[in-house]
C-alpha cells in the first residue's frame, strides 16, 4: 500500500469512527393502515407495565409519553386516569379487559388508549463497564374493537464505540429514555 493510500485509509477510518452513531439503537413498528388516525383527538395514557427492577421506570416513561404526545393530541390528566382506575379496582393494567377500556374511554371522553411496557431501564454491562440502556414498547388501542392499531418498540443503548473507548458522548439514562420516547412518538406523527 502506497503512502498516499495509507493516509486516505487512515482518514476514512477516523471519519467512520467520529461520524458513527453516538449510541446503539433499534426499532420495530406496526401500524394498522386501515385505521383512521385522524379521528383521534384525545387519548388516555394508562400506567406502563414495568418489567424492570426500577420501581419508578413505568411512571417515568409514562410521563415522558404524555409530554411528547402534547403536540399531537390532547391527553387526559394522569390524575384523572388513575382515579378512574382506582374506582374500577384495577391495580394491574395487564388485567384490563376490552370492555373496561371502552368504559374508561367513555367516562373520560377519549378516542384511544395508550398502553406500554418498559422492558429495560437501567444499566447494562459489557465486560468491566456498565452503560445505560432503555427498551420500551408503546401501543395505541382503539376502544371499539379493543385492537392495537399502532405499536412501536424502541431500544436505546449508551454503549457506543466512542463512549466505550474514548469516554465521549456518554449519555444519562433519562437522556436515552427521552430519545426513545421521542423517536417512538415520531412514528405516530409520520402516519
Amino acid at each position: 500500500m502506497s503512502w498516499k493510500n495509507l493516509c486516505l485509509f487512515s482518514l476514512l477510518c477516523i471519519v467512520i469512527l467520529f461520524l458513527g452513531p453516538s449510541h446503539v439503537y433499534s426499532k420495530e413498528v406496526f401500524v394498522n393502515q386501515s385505521f383512521d388516525f385522524g379521528t383521534i383527538k384525545k387519548v388516555i395514557v394508562l400506567p406502563f407495565v414495568n418489567l424492570t427492577e426500577d420501581r419508578s421506570a413505568g411512571d417515568v416513561i409514562r410521563y415522558l409519553v404524555v409530554s411528547e404526545l402534547q403536540e399531537l393530541v390532547e391527553t387526559v390528566f394522569v390524575g384523572d386516569v388513575d382515579r378512574v382506575l382506582k374506582r374500577m379496582n384495577v391495580s394491574d393494567v395487564r388485567e384490563l379487559a376490552a370492555e373496561q377500556i371502552k368504559e374508561i374511554c367513555k367516562e373520560l371522553k377519549a378516542d384511544a388508549v395508550i398502553t406500554g411496557v418498559v422492558y429495560k431501564y437501567g444499566e447494562a454491562r459489557s465486560g468491566n463497564i456498565s452503560y445505560p440502556e432503555v427498551v420500551i414498547t408503546i401501543n395505541m388501542v382503539e376502544p371499539e374493537g379493543g385492537s392495537i392499531v399502532w405499536s412501536v418498540t424502541e431500544r436505546k443503548s449508551g454503549g457506543s464505540f466512542l463512549a466505550k473507548h474514548f469516554g465521549l458522548g456518554i449519555r444519562t439514562l433519562n437522556e436515552l429514555a427521552i430519545e426513545a420516547v421521542r423517536d417512538a412518538i415520531k412514528t405516530l406523527k409520520n402516519i
Partner: protein, 181 residues
Amino acid sequence: MDKLKILGFLLLFLMCSSELFGKPASLRFVVLPFENFTQNPVASEVLRRITLQKLVELDVDVVEIGEVDRILVNEDMVNVSFIGKNEFVRIANLLQADYIVKGAVLSFTLERNWNISYPSVTVNLALIEGKTGKMVSVVVETEGGPSLAQVYLGTEPEPLNEVAKGVVKRALYKLLRAVRR
C-alpha cells in the same frame, strides 16, 4: 417638540417592555407538590422549592408553599397523583391563581457508568390554566453526563442542586412561553 417625541417613545417602550421581555405581568401561580419518581426522598421538595425560587426571580406572583399545602390538606388532596382537571380548577379558585405548575421529578441522582459518576436531573413540568383546568403546556427537561474535563482530568462533577437549578430554569422558560403567547 423633540423632547416630547423622546418621551412618547419612552412611554411606548415601557408599555411594550412587558411583552418584549416576556414577563408574565400580574399573573398568579401555584406550585403544587412534585411527584417523586427517584430514590431520593427529598428530590420532589428540592425541585419544588427551586421551581418556586426561579418563578420568584422571574418577578412572578407565586402563592406561598405553606398556603398551598394547607389548602390541599383542607380539600383532602394530599396525594397529588390523583389530582385531576376539576381539582385543578378548585385549587386555582381557592387560591385565586391564574396558573398551576404541576411537576414530577424523573431523576435526581449521581449516575455511575464507565467508572465515572455524573449528575442526572430530569424534571417534568406542566402548566395548567386555573379557569378551565386545561393543560397549557408540558415540558421535560434533562441535564447530565460527564464533561470532558471530568472524563480526562478527573475533575469533580457539578453539584446536583446546581444542575437542578439550570434544568428548572430552562423548563420554566419553555413553559412560560405559552403564557406570553
